[in-house]
Symmetry: C2
Subunit: 194 residues, 2 copies
């Protein structure tokens, strides 16, 4: 494999439901939602990603995510909509970020680089153009981390190998849903333009 | 206003719930969904758009969309989450595409150019880079059209002034949700990169 950047095969995405902030900057575990699972899985498949990790420490929430996955991979949904099946085959449901990192280390034989995303500007962040360049090293795997709720906690940012610059439009407003933010960042990193 | 392209102020988006195809290529009216309203309104606000039209001929569905809008603009939601309010202030709920075009013609003093999007490749489509260039003419307004369900009908494509190239990743799979597709296209046209 010589063109990791073009296939996305060395890139994975994780959606963290804990630890994230709520509206009042309390650390919480958010609920798994059906559309976060579907929209991000479809974007992950479109941009050729290796895996999509849904991460929550709450066992009942993992069971819910697994049930959604099974429905579309094996159940009635697999026949009804095979495209959805292909997307949900990328999903792995795990309790912690460390579990996702361990899975990638096992698959790639070395630790993944952790790329943390957020809506806030931070010093020393990397641009999406720079990161797209880095992804061209196929032997190195990357895990792009997205937070639910009001965003990933400082504790998570402290673990980042790289922090990605926030998405910006022409003005100051950048309150995108995590589904939209993930789609845009995957396109910036791996989208094919004419 | 001299930099329409950078502000997005001459660009609007419309989400059509009719006429669109269903899975079996029958022409249907789809249901308005809460998350289509929110995600696309937030993306529209982030990229500085003029308006976000939610279009459905079904009166009860328009009332549902209006109720969601009122909740966040005027109701309890406006205080709870002012960012959501700012996004939903862009929304207009109308019965037909012609109503949206009439609204834009009234606002800009000349017809908007209709840009139709879809997942399928078509001859004579314009690339997002070319369209981004065109948007720099601030006196000309543009309406970007997205379909729900299994996509806009041929009848809608026949009305297009411009057809935008589909979003592509490294492979053949491009089954994004309309929320993800809209976010990506707005970013391609109006996003600010470092």
């Amino acid at each position: 494999m010589t063109d990791g950047a073009q296939t996305g095969a060395n890139v994975s995405i994780a959606l963290l439901h804990y630890p994230v902030y709520d509206k009042n900057r309390q650390v919480v575990a958010t609920a798994v939602t059906n559309l976060d699972i579907h929209d991000i899985a479809r974007a992950a498949k479109t941009f050729g990603l290796f895996r999509y990790y849904v991460v929550t420490p709450v066992a009942e929430q993992r069971e819910l995510a697994e049930r959604i996955g099974r429905h579309w991979r094996e159940g009635w949904g697999a026949t009804y909509n095979p495209k959805r099946r292909a997307a949900l085959e990328l999903m792995r449901v795990l309790p912690t970020l460390d579990d996702a990192l361990a899975d990638l280390e096992e698959e790639f034989g070395r630790p993944a680089k952790l790329v943390v995303t957020g809506a806030q500007g931070r010093p020393n962040s990397i641009s999406s153009a720079e990161l797209a360049q880095q992804l061209k090293e196929p032997a190195q795997s990357y895990l792009l981390l997205f937070g639910t709720g009001w965003g990933l906690t400082e504790e998570v940012f402290a673990r980042a190998d790289l922090v990605l610059e926030p998405i910006r439009g022409p003005g100051d407003y950048n309150h995108l849903s995590v589904r939209s933010a993930a789609a845009i960042i995957l396109d910036r990193l791996l989208g094919v333009r004419r």
